[in-house]
């Protein structure tokens, strides 16, 4: 899988994706990367260098809450889950994203 086949993430979309994944169940950082990669069929490669700052940012904004739990492998890991406020944020971002996508599609699909 070469680099140019990956989709570049628009700024701000990573936050939305993280919120989406964390909305399902408490999940740790590594699993978030795995899940996003899996769902997007390897199109989305999340760099750790941007994942963790994003996690910390969401946590400090109060959209994610974190707790330390033991994984199946028996190791301590930090599990993130959505707060009530995070859920509201996720919904409004999703709506915004859909509007943006529709708008872009309209522009792109208009015949010349």
């Amino acid at each position: 899988m070469s680099r140019h086949q990956q989709a570049d993430l628009l700024q701000g979309t990573l936050d939305m994706l993280i919120l989406k994944v964390a909305a399902l169940e408490p999940i740790h950082g590594y699993a978030i990367v795995q899940r996003l990669q899996h769902i997007s069929k390897d199109a989305l490669q999340i760099r750790q260098g941007s994942l963790y700052p994003a996690l910390y940012r969401l946590e400090s904004r109060g959209w994610l809450k974190a707790e330390w739990k033991t994984t199946e492998g028996g190791r301590e890991a930090k599990f993130y889950s959505l707060t009530r406020e995070g859920r509201r944020q996720f919904e409004s971002e999703t709506a915004g994203w859909k509007r943006l996508c529709d708008a872009i599609s309209l522009v792109l699909e208009t015949p010349e």
């Binding site: 590594y30 750790q48 260098g49 963790y52 700052p53 994003a54 940012r57 400090s60 190791r75 930090k78």
Partner: protein, 884 residues
């Protein structure tokens, strides 16, 4: 602390989390069949720079502002470290300004403002009598008045009486002469002090025969009895009479010492023994104005009403005792606080004013330093803004620099103030020592800190705001020379230098006036020798040396032996050194022998100090004879030497020589008539703050005082003879306490302690101000030179003589100096007028001091300009033209 711990936990959490991620990745790769090494390599590569990731995580934290502050502190430290001159100048200025002000305000607070350690101290007064005929001179009270008053129903809830006493303490080591007081039985409870051990006095102990009980001071108890609890109940020998110790006074009990309570009541420099007053019937009949009376007003009563009650009782008592006396006496209430601070109050306030001026100078200097610094960094700041630095960050960085300097300067200043207070208390006048160890006044510290730091920060930040408003590119173009270092800012700095010079000149001029006065005071003719004179006080106790032949023989023999010592030119003894005014002498009314009805005229007759002297005293003290003769070894009839001022008051408008052989009586108007044998020049107390007092010197053979001061005139440095003198005294009486043998100069310098205190402090402040001023001038001039390096180079290249360049630089520096100096000298004359009461032998416009001050300031300013001027004159034009 908690913040740090929390930050550390947070870091650990982040580490664990990132490490977990990496490990998971490695495990996954290994599960896909990669070797461990390969898996680790790949995972690491994908993860990227670990530290960078961490840093980005940290940036997301909500507590990130804390890190920003740390970063700013680090940055500020670095940039200050790179300009050590600036940092040192600001810190020194801050430390000096804050230290001086805090120390002096702390003193003022504890001397003038802090409540005295007595319950309801604002209702406690000391009572004095004003003698209307004697230039409003005051007297203390009589014991009768105390007894009358406390029986009556007045506006006062309680009274206490006290009178000075001295004792020779023998046994348990070296014999010792101790200062003490006879007090009313309620003395300790009146002051709200409970003895730390044992008890105070009971009312029955005020009756004669039961009064031989004492309370001793905490310091005597520790020093002499090793703080032993057995001291209570111990019998000690005071003047060879056994006394029972019943109590130990509390540590640090504040009582009047020396002549604080009244000029004619001389307590010792410390009061170590208290004994009840038990007046005998004879004493109750005598007119003895030797008792201090303290009164405490009832709550809500008016002091004036109370004063009138006391005055009425005093007058009716006097009129009953002396029916012929028709005059009216006036009473006066002196607040107890004034007792402890009156002599030092004005001087302390003036020193405070001086330190206030000094703080202003310090602030001006700080403003100047900060302005120059920001101007010097205009380019740097503009570059940073152009490169995208947030303006808030730049401002916060500048503020941080100011705060950092403030913290360091404030800490040094607080430490300095702390040591200064100790030094001032140790070396200042005794009045400061009375008040138990004054601590630092934190309000003053914060105030001084806030003022000086505020100045610095405002001066540092204002130009930064200027940068803020401008757009970066424009600032960059204008660069260092204009914008911040422009004409306006240069003017401002010159004005600041002028202000600094004005304040400095005023301060230096007042210091000069005080110094000149002090020199005059020290050099003034007091009517006795000061150089090469030794003195020691000896007190013969009544029980071992009954008044009469034994005392006479003791001092005659002692002065004879000491006179025979090699190196001694003359030796004598006197009851109370004139230098110490008041101490250990009688203060009596002088009557004409023709006075028929003495009680009626008593208040109109002069009052004089009566001092016993041995014949050798006049030679040893260097007295000047105006008429008649000195005393001889044997005087068969009652004679006296009187002082010039007494002669003039007793027999005005007469020739001195015509007064020899005149006769008078002193004290007791039925006493023997005394013939004037000689008239000597007046003597004045060491501090010179009072008019020469009328004096009567009686031969010791006719009036044998028990307490005398030896006066020994030596051929060489006197201190060397101390041991020999001590040995002679020991030879005559091994049990006699010998206090420190001092030179007359030491005694004198103690009496002028307050004057010296004020002079030295003002001088120190003025010198520090001079240093600050020269730093200010130097800073402004060298900055101007640095800014115009190119101009100067051009001029030199075009052939301007170097002398002209120097003249130009001097003109920059000296213009504000001359303006400041002119204004400052005018201010100095006004200050001189305000100081008039403190001056001695000079006018407020003393030309010597003012000229000297002007010269010193000019010299300093020229010196401060010289270095930058020389630098400018020796500029290499080639290098200068390439500047910037």
């Amino acid at each position: 602390m908690r913040i740090i711990r929390r930050a550390r936990n947070w870091e650990k959490g982040m580490d664990t989390e990132l490490r977990f991620h990496l490990d998971q990745q490695i495990r996954d790769y290994m599960a896909h069949g990669l070797s461990r090494l390969e898996a680790e390599r790949r995972a690491g590569q994908e993860f990227g720079a670990l530290e960078l990731a961490k840093d980005e995580c940290r940036d997301q934290r909500s507590t990130e502002w804390l890190n920003h502050i740390f970063r700013d502190v680090r940055h500020a430290c670095r940039s200050l470290y790179k300009s050590p001159g600036f940092a040192a100048a600001v810190i020194a200025t801050l430390a000096l300004g804050i230290g001086a002000n805090t120390a002096i305000f702390s003193l003022i607070y504890s001397v003038l403002l802090k409540p005295l350690p007595y319950p309801a101290a604002d209702r406690v007064f000391s009572v004095e009598t004003i003698l209307p005929q004697h230039n409003a001179q005051t007297l203390p009270m009589r014991i009768q008045d105390y007894l009358d008053w406390r029986r009556a129903n007045t506006a006062f809830e309680s009274f206490a009486a006290l009178t000075p006493a001295q004792w020779n303490l023998a046994g348990d080591g070296e014999p010792e002469r101790l200062g003490g007081a006879l007090v009313s039985a309620n003395f300790f409870s009146f002051l709200g002090a409970t003895p730390q051990r044992g008890r105070g006095f009971s009312p029955e102990e005020e009756t004669p025969g039961r009064q031989n009980v004492v309370v001793i001071s905490d310091s005597l108890w520790r020093r002499r009895y090793g703080a032993s609890p057995d001291t209570i109940g111990k019998t000690i020998l005071l003047n060879a009479v056994p006394h029972l110790v019943v109590g130990i006074a509390p540590h640090g009990l504040l009582v009047p010492t020396n002549t604080l309570l009244h000029p004619t009541l001389a307590f010792g420099p410390s009061v170590d023994i208290w004994k009840p007053i038990a007046p005998t019937n004879d004493e109750l009949q005598a007119e003895n104005w030797n008792y201090g009376i303290l009164v405490r007003l009832r709550r809500g009563e008016s002091a004036e009403r109370g004063r009138q009650q006391l005055q009425r009782m005093l007058n009716s008592s006097i009129h009953a005792a002396v029916p012929d006396f028709t005059g009216e006496l006036t009473t006066r209430l002196v607040p107890i606080r004034e007792i402890y601070s009156s002599q030092v109050r004005l001087r302390l306030l003036l020193i405070f004013a001086a330190s206030g001026l000094f703080l202003l100078i310090a602030c001006t200097n700080i403003a100047n330093l900060f302005l120059a610094r920001v101007a010097g960094r205009a380019t740097e700041l503009a570059t940073r803004i152009a490169l995208g630095a947030g303006r808030a960050r730049i401002l916060s960085h500048l503020l941080m620099e100011g705060l950092l300097l403030a913290v360091v300067g404030g800490a040094v200043g607080a430490w300095g103030a702390h040591s200064a207070v100790r030094l001032l208390v140790a070396y200042g006048p005794a009045e400061l020592r009375n008040l138990s160890a004054p601590g630092l006044n934190f309000a003053a510290l914060w105030f001084a800190l806030a003022v000086s730091v505020g100045t610095g920060v405002i001066c540092g930040a204002l130009p930064a705001l200027h940068v803020w408003r401008k757009d970066a590119a424009a600032t960059l173009q204008e660069a260092a020379r204009s914008a911040l270092g422009g004409r306006g800012a240069a003017r401002l700095r010159e004005a600041l230098v002028a202000v600094e010079m004005t304040l400095g000149a005023a301060l230096l001029a007042s210091a000069g006036l005080l110094l000149h006065s002090f020199i005059n005071v020290m050099a003034a003719d007091r009517g006795y020798n000061v150089e090469r004179v030794l003195s020691v006080d000896l007190g013969l106790s009544d029980s071992r040396y009954a008044p009469g032949p034994r005392r006479i023989a003791f001092f005659r023999e002692l002065t004879r032996q000491i006179q025979a010592l090699p190196g001694v030119q003359a030796a004598g003894a006197i009851g109370g050194l004139p230098a110490n005014s008041g101490a250990a002498v009688a203060f009596q009314t002088i009557f004409y022998v023709t006075d028929a009805n003495p009680p009626a005229v008593a208040m109109q007759r002069p009052v004089a100090f009566i001092r016993s002297v041995t014949p050798g005293y006049f030679a040893a003290s260097g007295a000047t004879l105006r008429a008649g003769r000195f005393l001889t070894e044997s005087e068969p009839t009652p004679v006296a030497i009187i002082s010039e001022s007494l002669a003039k008051r007793l027999w005005p408008n007469q020739l001195m020589t015509a007064l020899i052989g005149r006769v008078f009586r002193h004290g007791d108007f039925n006493g023997p008539p005394v013939t004037v044998a000689g008239i000597v020049a007046d003597t004045r107390p060491g501090a010179l703050d009072r008019e020469p007092s009328p004096e009567v010197y009686r031969p010791q053979t006719q009036r044998a005082g028990g307490t005398m001061s030896l006066v020994i005139k030596t051929a060489q440095e006197p201190a060397a003879l101390g041991a020999a003198v001590r040995a002679e005294i020991r030879k005559l009486d091994p049990d006699l306490p010998i206090p420190a043998i001092r030179t007359m100069r030491e005694i004198l310098s103690q009496t002028v302690a307050e004057r010296r205190f004020q002079m030295v402090l003002t001088l120190l402040l003025a010198l520090a101000a001079l240093c600050l001023g020269s730093i200010g001038i130097y800073g402004v001039v060298s900055y101007s030179v640095a800014c115009r390096t190119r101009d100067i180079g051009l001029r030199i290249a075009l052939g301007a003589p170097r002398r002209d360049v120097m003249r130009w630089v001097f003109a920059i520096g000296l213009r504000p100096v001359l303006i400041g100096l002119a204004v400052g000298l005018i201010a100095a004359v006004c200050i001189g007028r305000a100081l008039r009461a403190m001056l001695y032998g000079i006018a407020a416009t003393d030309p010597v001091s003012l000229t000297l001050v002007a010269l010193i300031l000019l010299m300093t300013a020229i010196l401060a300009c010289y270095l930058p001027a020389r630098r400018a004159a020796t500029l290499d034009p080639v290098i200068a033209l390439r500047h910037e």
